[in-house]
Symmetry: C2
Subunit: 460 residues, 2 copies
C-alpha cells in the first residue's frame, strides 16, 4: 500500500487546504494534501457548458474588502472583472406583483426605511461580537438563546420588509433564520464588517468581482505550486495522533505519516473521521451541531443578455418562485446572456429533490414573469446540487443553532495536540467565504509552522 | 484479515441491534453484530461500585406502558421492582427557597394549575401528530417553524411555572427547549402517549420500574441468545452496498459480507460511516441535523437512605444547583442509600467539563440544601459522562431542531436498498427509550426478513 511522509499532512484540497500547503512550503517544510474527491477545489466548481462558456456551480464572487483574495489573485496572475450592475432589480414580494426597483422603492419607502433601521441596529449589536470568540460578547448568553428569526419577528416590520429581510438573510446563510442563533447571525455580520457589505440587495458587498477564466483558476494555480504533493480520491478514515506525530489512514489503504495534521474540511465532515485517541466530547458535540446549509444554483444560458436592453440588471427578488434571487452572470468577451437562479434553504431542499425538468420548469415560470417570454428559451440549462456530493454535503457553510456558540464555540478552531483545524467555517473574517478559507488555511499553517520550527522566520 | 458471512450484518450491539439479531435468528436467518466498543449495551451501562451495589450510568427505568420491555424482561427471566416513591419532593425554584412538596403546591397552586392547562393543551396538539410521520401533521409546517421554547414562552406562565416546565422538558430532551422544534416536542409527547406519562414530576410515567441485577441484564441475556455472532471492538468504516448485498469494512481490516445491513446506532453516528454508493443528500443532511443531547448522571451512595425518615422521596427539583432533578435509586435488599443527580442540557455541558472534584462539590452543596448535612458524607461518588464516550457521543438521544422533521423526516427510517435503520431514535412508540429501541430493532429486522424470505412465517 502507498505510504507517504510529510511534515504536515493536510486533509482537503479546497482553498483552505491549498493555502495551508503553500504556507507550509514557504516555511521550508513539506506538506501532503489528501483529497477525498477526484478533483481539487472543494466548494469551487467551474463547469464549462460550451467552449469558452463556463458557469460557477460553487463560489463565484469576491467583494471589495476581500483583501487576501485580491492579493492571492494578483499573485497567481488571475485577472478579475466587475460584476454587471446596470439597471433595475425586479421585485415581487407579498403579493405586490412584479415591480421594477424604482417603483418598488417608491411604493414601499416607509417599510424599507424601517428595514434600514433594523440593519443599523444589527450593525450596532454585531459590533459587540468578537469574531474570534463570539461567546465572549457581553450579551452572548441572551443572543445565543434566541433564533435570528425570533429576533427578526420582534422588530415590528411590515410583511414586505420582514420577507425581504428573510430573503436577504437566507441568501447568506442558505437556511431559514429560525434554524440559526441570533448570536450566529451577529457573528456572521461582524466577520463581514457591516450588514451593507453582507446583505447588499443590489450589487456590492460580497459580490462585486469575478475571476477571468473562472473561480477554479484560483485552486488550480495554487495546486500547480504545490505539485505532486496532492493525492486525490483518498478519503481519510482515521487519524492516529500523539503530541508530536500523526498517522493518517485512508480508504484503500493509503497511509500518510507526519508531524502535524491540518483538517481543512467543513466541521461536519471533520467529525466523521475517527481519531485515536478520541477527541473530547466538546469537540465531538460541536461537529454534531454544525450542519452544512442547503444551497443550489441554476443557470439559464441565452443567446444574449436580453434583459439589459429593458433596463434590468438581471436580478430578481421574489417570494413566489423556487428561486428567491437571481443574478446576471454573463462572461466578458462572450455574447451569451447568463442568468443565475439561487435556490437556498427550504427552496433548495424542496426543489433540489425534484426531477430536473420539474425544477427547471418552475424556475422558468418565475423568470418569464420578471424578464418576459424570451426567458423561456435558453440555449442551455444546468444546475448543481451540493448535499448529494459525498465530499461536500451541503453549501454554503455551517450555521450554528441556538446555544451552540456559547456551549461549544471554544472547540471550533483550538488545536488538539498535533491536530489543527482549518476551513472557512473556522475563520474570523468573512467566515463562509473564500476570503475566510484563505485566512483559516494561513492561520492553521502558521500555528503548525511555529510549533515545528524552533526559530521560525517570519512568514510571507 | 478476519472475514465474516451472515445473512444480515448489524451495526451496533445496543438493545436495538441485539433485538434485531434475535428477530433475524428467530426467522431462521444468520445475524452478525459488529460493535465498535469493547462492550455491548450501548447506552445501557450498569456499573458496580461495591460488591452487590450497582448504579446505572445509562438507561435505568421502564414505565407502565413499556409493553415490549416488560415482555422482554419476562422472556429473559429478568425480574423487575418498583421505583421508591414514598414521601415528598423537595423544591427550590425562582428564589422560592427550599420547600417541601405540599408547601410548594399550596404556595403556587394557581401557577401550577396554569401549567396543568398547558400540559392539557400539549396533549391536544400532540394527538394530531402521527408518530410514524410527524411531517404529515395538519399543522406540521407551523409547528416545525418555531422552537419548543418559543411556544412555551408564549403561554403566559409565571416564572415558577415556566421554569418548572423547562426543567421537566429538559429532563426528557437533555437540551434546552430553544434547541428543539415544537413539532419535535409534540412528536416526543405523542410517541409516549400524553404529557402525564412523560413529564411526571413525581414518580410514574416513564420511571416506575427497574430491573433486578441492573439494566445490563437485558442486553447481557439477549447477547447470550445470540452467542458468538457478536464481534466487539470492530468499528464500521465503510458499507459497500448493492440492491441485494452488503460488504462492511471495519477498522483493523475486518470485513463482513451479507445480504442486508441494519445500522442500529444513533443517526449522528450512522452519518459518520462511509457508504458506497453514497447516500442521497436528504439522508446525509438529516444525520447532520440530529445531534445527540447532553446528559450525565452522578450518584451519591450513603450508608442508608436517611431522607426517607424525613418523609422525603429523594427527589429534588431546583433551578439553583448543577442538577435540576434527583432520584432515590436504592437497590432492593441492600441497606445503602443511593441518590442520583441528573445533569442535563446546559448543566451537563458546563459541569461535565469541570474536574470531578469541583462537579461533586457543587452537587453536594445542592444536596445538603435539600436533604441536610448527611448528604455531604457519602461512602462513594461516581458520575458518568456520555459525550466523551467515542461510540456514544451524547445522551439520551437525538433531538430535531426547527424545520428538520418537515424537510428531512422521511429519510429517518426509510431503507436505502440493502441498508436498513434501527436505534431508538427511529422508533414511533417511546422513541428515545429502551422501549423504542426494541420497537426499532424489531421493525428493521422484520423489514429485512420479509425481503429475504419468499414465504416468511409470521414472526414472534
Amino acid at each position: 500500500m502507498p505510504r507517504h511522509e510529510a511534515d504536515v499532512v493536510i486533509v482537503g484540497a479546497g482553498i483552505s487546504g491549498l493555502i495551508a500547503a503553500r504556507t507550509v512550503l514557504a516555511a521550508g517544510l513539506t506538506p501532503l494534501i489528501l483529497e477525498a474527491d477526484e478533483r481539487i477545489g472543494g466548494r469551487i466548481l467551474t463547469e464549462e457548458v460550451a467552449p469558452g462558456l463556463s458557469v460557477e456551480l460553487g463560489a463565484q464572487w469576491i467583494g471589495d474588502t476581500h483583501h487576501r483574495m485580491f492579493a492571492l489573485a494578483a499573485e497567481l496572475g488571475v485577472q478579475t472583472y466587475p460584476q454587471y450592475d446596470q439597471g433595475e432589480t425586479s421585485y415581487d414580494l407579498v403579493g405586490s406583483g412584479v415591480l421594477r426597483e424604482n417603483d418598488f422603492h417608491a411604493q414601499f419607502a416607509d417599510e424599507l426605511a424601517a428595514l434600514e433601521r433594523v440593519f443599523r441596529r444589527l450593525d450596532e449589536l454585531a459590533a459587540e461580537v468578537p469574531p474570534e470568540a463570539p461567546w465572549l460578547a457581553p450579551h452572548a448568553a441572551e443572543w445565543d438563546a434566541i433564533t435570528a428569526g425570533a429576533w427578526y419577528d420582534a422588530q415590528g416590520l411590515s410583511p414586505v420588509a420582514r420577507t425581504l429581510l428573510e430573503i436577504c438573510t437566507v441568501g447568506i446563510l442558505a437556511v431559514p433564520t429560525v434554524e440559526v442563533s441570533f448570536l450566529h447571525l451577529l457573528f456572521t455580520i461582524q466577520t463581514c464588517g457591516v450588514t451593507s457589505e453582507l446583505f447588499a440587495e443590489s450589487e456590492g458587498g460580497a459580490q462585486t468581482t469575478r475571476f477571468l477564466g473562472g473561480t477554479a483558476e484560483i485552486p488550480n494555480r495554487l495546486a500547480a505550486l504545490i505539485g505532486d504533493q496532492i493525492v486525490l480520491e483518498t478519503p481519510v478514515q482515521l487519524i492516529e495522533h500523539t503530541a508530536d506525530s500523526v498517522t493518517v489512514h485512508c480508504r484503500g489503504g493509503v497511509v500518510a505519516r507526519g508531524r502535524r495534521v491540518i483538517v481543512a474540511i467543513s466541521p461536519t465532515l471533520a467529525g466523521r473521521i475517527m481519531y485515536d485517541p478520541p477527541l473530547p466530547g466538546i469537540r465531538d458535540q460541536l461537529t454534531q451541531r454544525m450542519p452544512n446549509a442547503s444551497a443550489m444554483k441554476a443557470f439559464f444560458v441565452y443567446d444574449e443578455p436580453f434583459w439589459r436592453a429593458d433596463g434590468l440588471n438581471g436580478q430578481l427578488i421574489s417570494d413566489v418562485g423556487p428561486a428567491r434571487m437571481s443574478n446576471d452572470t454573463c462572461l466578458p468577451g462572450d455574447d451569451h446572456g447568463v442568468l443565475l437562479m439561487f435556490l437556498e434553504g427550504e427552496q433548495a431542499r424542496t426543489y433540489g429533490r425534484l426531477p430536473v425538468d420539474e425544477r427547471r420548469a418552475a424556475l422558468t415560470a418565475e423568470l418569464v414573469r420578471h424578464f418576459g417570454d424570451r426567458a423561456a428559451r435558453p440555449e442551455f440549462y444546468i444546475d448543481g446540487e451540493w448535499a448529494d456530493r459525498q465530499w461536500t454535503r451541503g453549501c454554503y457553510n455551517a450555521n450554528l443553532g441556538p446555544l451552540v456558540w456559547t456551549a461549544y464555540g471554544p472547540a471550533l478552531s483550538a488545536p488538539i495536540g498535533a491536530i489543527h483545524w482549518a476551513s472557512t467555517d473556522t475563520a474570523t473574517y468573512w467566515s463562509a467565504y473564500m476570503e475566510g478559507a484563505v485566512e483559516a488555511g494561513e492561520r492553521a499553517a502558521r500555528q503548525v509552522v511555529e510549533e515545528l520550527t524552533a526559530n521560525a522566520a517570519p512568514l510571507p
